[in-house]
Amino acid sequence: MIRLVLDRFVGMVFTMALVSLLVFLIMELPPGDYADRYAFRKYSGTGVNVTEGDIQAIREDLGLDKPLVFRYVDWIGNIVLYGDFGQAFAFETPVTKVIGDKVWLTLGILFATLIVTYLISIPIGIFAAVNRGSSGDYLLTVFSYLGLALPNFLLALILLYFANRWFGADIGGLMSPAFERAPWSLAKLWDVIAHLWLPAFVLAWSAVAYQLQTVRATMSDELNKLSVTAARARGVPETKLLIKYPARLAINPVVSTIGFDVNRIFSELPIVAAVLGLTELGELLLRAYLDLDMYVAGAILLMLTFAIVFMNFVSDILLAWLDPRIKLGS
């Protein structure tokens, strides 16, 4: 078990190193560099005449004139050693300050979504497999197709529209306006939790559609196994039997794809966040891209991907713990 953990851990670090390189290349992609944009931001409209020499000075000051490889090492070195993600545009503050407590809000959304996803998909998937061919099962297939076809951000728009129309309420946002600038307190935390259900449901939409199908398919396979027949012959009550044999195994593919779910959720997060007006990392990422605030964008992309890689790691370990066969296999 320890070997397996170490093994996966090394793999995780290696993947992260490559990911950081790719993220850095994306940050470098837009035409011009930080110095250009910095000078433009600082002096545009002030009447100051900025020459190419001034920009060059800024560039040297920030070490942007060095070759790509050195800049990458500088960037990643500062992140790993000092937790310094570089400078954001906004009021010349460091990226870490811009991001601030948004990391926790994002993680809150992520876990709320994961919980909603599994609470819906696992029981209903098992139900569908047990009642194969019933009208409920059929309805579920239709729903799964819709889950794939209706993009989450459109679902968010539709929900906002109907909430506004029927209840006259704006259900977007992550917290009540009164709490937006308030320091963290129990009341604020409670308010955020009360606002979480909508983004969690919207983001879980397509993840549920996928996982439902997975659970249903594995469960159907497991139900035909001899262990089920044997247990039934022994007279084990049906509910206990379902939980003890097939359901236990039907959860494995779900556990092994936690990383994919996190990936899917983060992939949809920026756009859903923009529609629902959530002030967290996804929305910030979108704004950073639109403003070409590349240090902020890079930092967020790195964080999101790191969360995914880490959840992959966790799911690997969890799976090995749940299913001893995997440990033996490795």
Binding site: L18, L22, N164, F266, A297
Partner: protein, 394 residues
């Protein structure tokens, strides 16, 4: 073949009535056709029996045709403005109104009046005025498929002074129906080009990994994993954000297809790789290698044909992701930009609840997105069943 001989013997048996003989003859022909049919014909036959997939196929075909001939089907251009009908509601052609019925469908015209307060010209629906819908009307001069000039459009109004807006207009008075058709073309074609690019990449990358195996495979697998682990839309957004602002519509369009194609290959590459790995030691592959054929030829000529059908299924299934990605990117303003029209660009106008509340018809392109994605998914499922040589249907 033994089978045809058997069946032939049945047909020649003497004790049959003419009716039975004809039936037997039909059966013989059917079986002969079945056994001599090519793999593709068999797939097509099996696919045809899949009713949902056939319906999806027809819907998608219609959509594609409407997009392809948008210049002809759409009554107006994508940027043509009707200043007399700004933010106008959909006009549903009707046969009856309070003045009685007519055999020809018509809509109510609008008459321009002065706003009593601001004295600005506003359009007021005039229920007394009927304007009849006509087919093959003359309108703007357009080039069908960019080649054939014509002034004829599929439908329009008798009276050329007023315009027919089936699905209403946006705040600039542009016809939503026409714009949706043009957008359909853009969105579907971006999907096609993106899938093609990722297909070529998947063949090269997956082919290299699967054919050579070993160390090469290991390295490629690692790199693939890195790309798979980054959330797709944020990744696309990063690449799309890098597009220079001064690029023309065409440049942005092609850049988008490249971006979508550039990172769409991992799933398909995995399929190609695993299939190649499983057959790379088959006798016929070894024979080709011994005969001195080069890797590209062995892969293309000898190995690929054995799983082309699987690849096609995967291609069809990857369409929805392309379309959804493009829609999502354009929706937030990182993809195509106006004056280009795509589903995402059109939906950009319907971003806030206030707009949807006042002009719900701006949301119609969303229906197209959902229908197209659904259709592709259903067709993919149907094709997967049809391409499986072990499925039952004859």
């Amino acid at each position: 073949m033994a089978v045809t001989d058997d069946v032939g013997a049945v047909g020649a048996a003497p004790a049959l009535t003419p009716k039975q003989r004809r039936a037997a003859e039909r059966e013989r022909k059917r079986l002969l056709k079945y056994y001599s049919a090519s793999q593709w014909t068999l797939i097509w036959w099996r696919f045809r029996r899949h009713r949902a997939a056939m319906i999806a196929f027809v819907i998608l075909g219609l959509m594609a045709l409407m997009g392809l001939f948008a210049e002809f089907v759409a009554p107006y251009g994508p940027t043509t403005r009707d200043v007399r009908y700004l933010s106008g509601a959909p006009q549903i052609p009707m046969f009856c109104d309070h003045n009685g019925c007519s055999l020809r469908p018509f809509v109510h015209g609008a008459s321009t009046k002065r706003d009593p307060v601001t004295l600005r010209a506003i359009s007021v629906p005039d229920p007394e005025k009927r304007v009849y819908v006509a087919f093959f009307t003359q309108g703007e001069r357009v080039l069908i498929l960019g080649l054939f000039p014509t002034r004829t459009h599929l439908f329009g109004l008798d009276d050329r002074q007023t315009k027919l807006h089936l699905w209403g207009t946006d705040d600039l008075g542009r016809d939503v129906f026409s714009r949706t058709l043009y957008a359909t073309r853009t969105s579907l074609s971006i999907g096609v080009l993106g899938v093609l690019i990722s297909f070529v990449l998947a063949l090269i990358i997956g082919g290299t990994a699967g054919y050579f195996g070993g160390m090469t495979d290991n390295v490629i697998q690692r790199l693939t994993e890195v790309i798979r682990v980054i959330p797709v839309i944020p990744l696309y957004m990063g690449l799309a954000a890098a597009m220079p602002k001064e690029w023309s519509t065409t440049q942005v369009y092609f850049a988008m297809t490249v971006i979508l194609g550039l990172f769409g290959w991992p799933t398909l590459a995995r399929r190609v790789r695993s299939q190649l790995l499983s057959i790379r030691n088959e006798d016929y592959v070894v024979a080709a290698r011994l005969a001195g054929a080069r890797p590209a030829r062995i892969i293309g000529q000898h190995m690929l044909p054995s799983f082309t059908s699987f690849i096609i299924v995967d291609l069809v299934i990857s369409f929805p992701y392309m379309i959804l990605s493009e829609t999502a990117l354009s929706f937030v303003g990182l993809g195509l930009r106006p004056p280009a029209t795509s589903w995402g660009v059109l939906l950009q106008q319907a971003q806030s609840i206030r707009v949807i509340e006042q002009m719900p018809w701006l949301f119609i392109p969303a229906v197209f997105v959902v229908v197209a994605v659904l259709a592709f998914t259903v067709i993919g499922d149907g094709l997967r069943d049809a391409a499986d040589p072990y499925s039952e249907a004859r």
